[in-house]
């Protein structure tokens, strides 16, 4: 049960990153490697702030601000200095490695003893359960703490998703979507496409940083390498999501990204349960993403052949 709750919690945290990747990769067609750095930045800044005595909410907000700054830098390097998008993201991500190390002071920072959002949620949950440590769910024992943390992350995800969906229906949000879809058109309509890209990358990386900050609080530590491979995981969420839902409207696709993130983490949990080595996780991820990319094409082709056979026979 705790494996399932853990997978769900990590899945929801990944969904936050996934929404960020959706914004940069699908809305702006910008393959943004910055998120691997800003994920860690969010964790690092939030952790250092909490250890320095700041409240966890303020600390998490500071982490998000750090992510937004990183995204803005990538955006400026691309739009003002005319550096290729992928390269701009890689440069900033690389620079962030050193910056994050400086912020953390060492390559691993423990959050034990600090007041974290997850800790607060766990104690609130225990209070609401009347002091019980476990509850019965579907005939199994579930730790109250685990459930409370899951509820916290779910609440954050729902709030962020709602905010994003509302934002992309505003004039500014729609202009951002237009920028990614047809920059020539949007310039002819008076929008500064460079500004839109910078703003979009800032938002995207603020979400990545939020995911990192929550992950650090959930796991209880920040590690300098925790961002490695997060872009692939985020892309897996987005692409799996597009396979899982039908329809091309924004709200549908964002929900799809969330589902994709959950499915991805559940599949990993299953793989681990079946005895696969954690070291093989990266290979498993690659296989999943490949499968998600190939599946829609294969299914479509299979359907075509079936239709041809039916028409001929």
């Amino acid at each position: 049960m705790s494996l399932l709750l853990g997978a769900l919690t990590l899945g929801l945290i990944l969904a936050l990153l996934g929404i960020g990747v959706y914004i940069s990769f699908r809305i702006f067609n910008f393959p943004d490697m910055t998120c691997e750095g800003s994920y860690t930045s969010g964790a690092a800044v939030a952790a250092v702030a909490m250890l320095a005595g700041h409240g966890p909410l303020a600390a998490t907000a500071m982490g998000m601000a750090a992510g937004a700054l990183a995204g803005a830098v990538t955006g400026l390097v691309h739009t003002r200095l005319k550096v290729n998008d992928l390269l701009a993201g890689i440069l900033v991500m690389t620079g962030l490695y050193s910056v994050n190390l400086r912020v953390m002071g060492s390559s691993n920072v423990s959050l034990s003893g600090a007041t974290t959002l997850t800790g607060q949620a766990a104690s609130l949950g225990t209070q609401m359960a009347g002091g019980a440590k476990t509850v019965q769910i579907l005939g199994r024992d579930a730790a109250v703490g685990d459930l409370a943390v899951l509820a916290l992350v779910l609440a954050v995800l729902v709030a962020v998703t709602a905010l994003m969906l509302v934002f992309f229906r505003t004039q500014l949000g729609l202009a951002m979507r237009g920028t990614g879809d047809n920059a020539q058109m949007i310039r002819a309509l008076g929008v500064g496409d460079g500004h839109m890209q910078v703003l979009g990358l800032a938002i995207s990386n603020a979400l990545a940083a939020l995911a990192g900050a929550l992950a650090a609080q959930y796991l209880g530590f920040v590690d300098i390498s925790m961002g490695l491979g997060m872009l692939v995981a985020g892309l897996a969420a987005v692409i799996l999501g597009e396979t899982l839902v039908s329809g091309r409207k924004l709200a549908v696709l964002v929900v799809g990204t969330v589902l994709g993130a959950l499915v991805y983490r559940l599949l990993i949990a299953v793989a681990l349960r079946l005895g696969m080595e954690p070291n093989d996780l990266k290979l498993i991820t690659a296989v999943f993403v490949l499968g998600a990319l190939v599946a829609p094409v294969a299914v479509a082709r299979w359907r075509e052949r079936a239709a041809v056979r039916a028409a001929a026979g």
């Binding site: 004039q171 949000g173 002819a188 008076g190």
Partner: protein, 270 residues
């Protein structure tokens, strides 16, 4: 109203690919006039429109729209005053957004965009009416993605988007060249309607003699980056496609003559 003074533009200067696209164009366009721009291939017609729109800055000269100095203004700044329809039907609309969303984007041309909702009920109603006036049956498909529409439909929508907020200058760059004849006719009909209804100052580049003759009150012919003919009023309205073809033939012969003369001079004196 639009003052173009001696503009020059050379692409890839000092390289083997150098193109002297505009070599001194000076024009005064009055408010409300509908100017047809004709020319041989490579004469600089599209470059002229792109220079006005701000796709690039001119090397020399100035562009002035009423009291606004446009010469060094970036493209999205000039968009406040200028509506554009491109030759490529894919350039003017966002394929992954709906018709309603595209129109909502167009309705804020020249205005700041904040956190107000982009699409309200009142706006939907206005959009419905505006699209219905196109006469293409698209008003029932406002929530369809643009990507599902044909080239003619997209150009009609681009035209609508360019004129939703009345522009001071409308730039049409061979906007029916990539369409089939039926769609082209439809789009031209809508163009004539919109320009007449709103009395828009328009510059239209075209390759079609038929369009050049039937539309507009002024005709400019370009060749090698310069304006070589400027007809308006009765001169313009009397034009027939044959007259235009004759002019093009003159230009071609003058070119050949230049070349023959240059060769002769080279043989004689060099």
């Amino acid at each position: 109203m639009l003052q173009i003074r001696d503009i020059h533009k050379t692409f890839h200067p000092d390289t083997p690919n150098e193109v002297r696209s505009l070599q001194g164009v000076t024009l005064d366009i009055e408010e409300g006039s509908f100017v047809i721009v004709l020319g041989t291939n490579g004469s600089g017609k599209s470059t002229l429109l792109n220079a006005l729109a701000g796709s690039f800055y001119v090397d020399r000269g100035s562009i002035r729209l009423d009291e606004h100095e446009l010469t060094r203004m970036p493209e999205n700044g000039r968009a406040r005053f200028i509506g554009r329809v491109f030759q490529n039907p894919f350039s003017g609309t966002a394929p992954n957004l709906t018709i309603a969303e595209n129109l909502a984007l167009a309705s804020r041309r020249g205005q700041s965009r904040g956190l107000a909702m982009a699409l309200g009920a009142a706006q939907r109603q206005q959009q419905h009416e505006a699209v219905a006036r196109l006469g293409m049956g698209l008003e029932g498909r406002l929530d369809n993605l643009i990507g599902s529409l044909s080239g003619g439909q997209r150009q009609a929508l681009t035209l609508l988007m360019a004129t939703l907020v009345k522009p001071r200058l409308l730039l049409l760059d061979e906007h029916t060249a990539a369409l089939d004849p039926k769609s082209a006719d439809q789009v031209i009909r809508i163009t004539a309607q919109v320009v007449a209804r709103d009395r828009l100052t328009t510059l239209m580049v075209t390759h079609s003699m038929a369009q050049a003759v039937s539309l507009g009150d002024r005709l400019i012919m370009m060749h090698r980056g310069r304006v070589i003919a400027d007809l308006s009023g009765a001169q313009k309205s009397r034009l027939r496609p044959d007259d235009l073809l004759a002019r093009f033939e003159e230009v071609r012969r003058a070119d050949l003559l230049d070349e023959a003369a240059a060769q002769m001079l080279a043989e004689r004196f060099v």
